[in-house]
């Protein structure tokens, strides 16, 4: 997994609440058996004027000029600024894969859906929860600046705006540790294999019917 330490990234605002995983990556792209290559189809229905299907040459498809991600000033954006309940809906990890493949490294919103939030950490993508009022302030600052950049420091758990304002954010210690070091948590868990085995033996003795 990609490490996340400090990011100085351009912000793109997506001013909608309840952005769901079907919007982030429509289902026709979930037929892929690969883990990569979803970026060109992130927000497919909003981003293109035609209907996207797997296997199309996305470079030749008509872009929706009104969709924020298509505007020239946001090219190369790495920070997605969003509204409440971002990533609601399905468990599809294709959603964070698509966002990461598109180039995002961090998402800021007042709240996230639980499964999506979790999936982000597994893919080097940092979801940051901030108070709705702070998110509002960032939307306003972005609207005024031509190309707002934010410095996001995971170690310090701090976001710094160009005028020097600092916003602190929370992140669970274990997740932070994994993200900072790009650790594969399967490997970490396997170090506790003996404990799992011991638990399993006890569990099997108590409820043998679970092991059918």
């Amino acid at each position: 997994m990609q490490k996340f330490t400090v990011l100085d990234g351009l912000v793109v605002p997506l001013d909608r609440a309840n952005v769901d995983t079907d919007a982030i990556i429509p289902k026709q792209f979930l037929k892929s058996i690969k883990r990569s290559g979803f970026g060109p189809n992130a927000f497919d229905e909003w981003r293109y004027l035609d209907h996207g299907e797997p296997g199309m040459d996305n470079a030749k498809r008509p872009l929706n000029p009104d969709f924020v991600l298509n505007q020239p000033r946001y090219q190369g954006a790495q920070v997605l600024l969003a509204r409440e309940n971002f990533g609601c809906g399905s468990s599809r990890e294709h959603a964070p894969w698509a966002l990461e493949d598109f180039g995002f490294r961090a998402i800021i919103a007042p709240s996230f859906a639980d499964i999506f939030f979790n999936n982000c950490f597994k893919n080097g993508l940092l979801p940051i929860r901030l108070d709705a009022a702070v998110v509002d302030a960032l939307f306003n600052a972005e609207a005024k600046a031509a190309g707002l950049r934010l410095k996001i420091d995971l170690e310090q758990q701090a976001i710094t705006t160009p005028d020097g304002t600092v916003y602190r954010f929370e992140v669970e210690a274990f997740r932070k540790h994994c993200l900072l070091n790009g650790l594969d948590d399967i490997g970490l868990t396997m170090q506790h294999g003996d404990e799992v085995k011991a638990f399993e033996a006890k569990h099997r003795a108590a409820q043998p019917w679970l092991f059918n």
């Binding site: 609440a17 309840n18 079907d22 037929k31 209907h51 809906g89 499964i115 396997m190």
Partner: protein, 466 residues
């Protein structure tokens, strides 16, 4: 010992170890697998040279991509076919129990797990699918996981997670005539919102919930995720225990008695503390219909499409405006004046035998309206289909003009050929009305099976409680 919630009991009985920050390693009893969210996990496992920890904990089925007609010809879409074949190959290579497309037991993963007794009370159940919350209806701790976690469970039989907060959703009283489990859960979502359960595990309780059949309880827990909660659950009682008697994976003989004795402890203790309690009066719940592009955008069928002008919160107002535009609806329209183009009866929310019976009761002896271009009935599993055919329900539907299909997810998410055309409006018994969910530009209204059947007959929404 302090009184415990059902969630506490399920959680505590599965913790292997806990990190300093409270992150726990939780042991997983049952891992359900389907074709869409597993290929990358199998590949990851292979690349790392790892093997599944406990193959017997896994049960696999293809459901999302499978065609619901013309199965004998196989899957026409080459990309979908490859995904299903990849599941078959992975399962064959590792010796994982899989119900293939031709197997009578094949069906939607959340229908077949309980049907086989592969989901049991007291279990931790995971699947790379958010509607895994369904299995919580059996006093199990069940939740959806992402593909990285699928791989993690395969490799270690465990998941890393933190305990959530707990919320009790208390629904007391009797549901009125024509009001179902689907209406109950839509009313809950309408009340707490799609993010209302974020960070919580929900326990549905109260006399109205106890009065539901297992099918109804599954419908309720299925949609816990639509309220933002990863897990929804209901205490075990006689109804729960009776459900498992004789199921293929369920314990038998002496073990059955031992299991039942344990299952009887799976409820929240008197005086157990929840972080939050939400109450609803069952008698006040009317048949529900969604009008927007989020399950919380719901009203009673005798209500009207909301007017954004009356919403003071600017983010909410623009959300309503955006949804109404997408849905092609005018504010203040009576819900019963909304005409539909298609009907879908199916999905892991409402494709069980009881759902099909309820829909057939409405359709019996009638014909679908001329403006309804297609009305699909897709049973949740081959066994549900077989049972429905034994009862003659297929004939009721066919005589009324419905199409009777093979089991799968079908038009719930339209990954196969069953989809809406842009702008088409559907009365659907599924669980999500997101933009594009049932096909690009599709317009979905979530309803109960009886409401969907009634809409098919009338050509517009009708109040089945009248």
């Amino acid at each position: 010992m302090n009184p415990q919630t059902l969630y506490d009991k399920l959680w505590n009985s599965h913790v292997v170890r806990t990190e300093a920050d409270g992150t726990a390693l939780l042991y997983i009893d049952r891992h359900l697998v389907h074709e869409v969210t597993s290929p990358q996990a199998f590949e990851g496992l292979r690349l790392a040279g790892r093997k599944p920890w406990r193959i017997a904990s896994m049960l696999a089925v293809a459901d999302h991509n499978v065609p619901t007609s013309g199965r004998a010809q196989g899957i026409a879409d080459p990309i979908a076919r490859l995904q299903v074949e990849t599941l078959d190959e992975n399962c064959a290579a590792l010796g994982i129990n899989e119900f293939k497309m031709s197997d009578l037991r094949q069906g939607i993963v959340h229908v077949i797990g309980p049907e086989q007794g592969a989901t049991l009370p007291g279990m931790t159940v995971v699947c790379g699918d958010s509607h895994t919350s369904t299995h919580g209806a059996f006093a199990a701790l069940a939740f959806g996981i992402g593909t990285s976690e699928v791989e993690h469970v395969m490799a270690t039989q465990c998941l890393l997670m933190k305990k959530t907060k707990s919320m009790q959703v208390l629904v007391e009283g009797n549901l009125g005539r024509g009001v179902t489990a689907k209406d109950l859960v839509l009313a809950v979502i309408g009340k707490i919102g799609t993010a209302g359960g974020t960070g919580y595990s929900l326990e549905f309780a109260g006399s109205a919930v106890r009065g539901l059949s297992m099918e109804g309880r599954m419908t309720v827990c299925n949609m816990a995720i639509e309220a933002g909660a990863r897990a929804g659950m209901i205490a075990a009682d006689d109804t729960t225990i009776a459900y498992f008697k004789g199921r293929p994976f369920a314990p038998q003989g002496e073990l059955w008695d031992k299991a039942v004795a344990y299952w009887r402890t799976l409820h929240s203790d008197a005086g157990a503390q929840f972080d939050k309690v939400v109450q609803l009066d069952a008698a006040g719940i009317r048949p529900q219909v969604t009008w927007g592009t989020s399950p919380e955008m719901v009203v009673a069928v005798d209500g009207r499409v909301p007017d954004p002008a009356r919403e003071s919160d600017p983010v909410k107002r623009s959300g309503i405006e955006h949804s109404l535009k997408y849905m092609g609806l005018t504010p203040n329209t009576a819900m019963t004046d909304i005409k539909i183009d298609k009907v879908f009866i199916g999905s892991c929310t409402n494709s069980r035998i009881e759902d099909l019976r309820a829909a057939a009761d409405v359709a019996r002896g009638k014909k679908i309206a001329p403006n309804v271009k297609l009305a699909l009935v897709v049973p949740g599993s081959g066994l549900v289909k077989q049972q429905a055919e034994r009862e003659g329900l297929d004939q009721v539907f066919i005589a009324a003009g419905f199409e009777w299909r093979e089991p799968g997810c079908s038009m719930c998410l339209a990954m196969n050929d069953d989809k809406l055309e842009p702008g088409e409006r559907c009365a659907s018994t599924s669980n999500r009305n997101f933009e594009g969910r049932q096909g690009q530009g599709s317009r979905t209204h979530l309803v109960s099976p009886a409401m969907a059947a009634a809409a098919a007959i009338a050509g517009h929404f009708v109040d089945v409680s009248k």
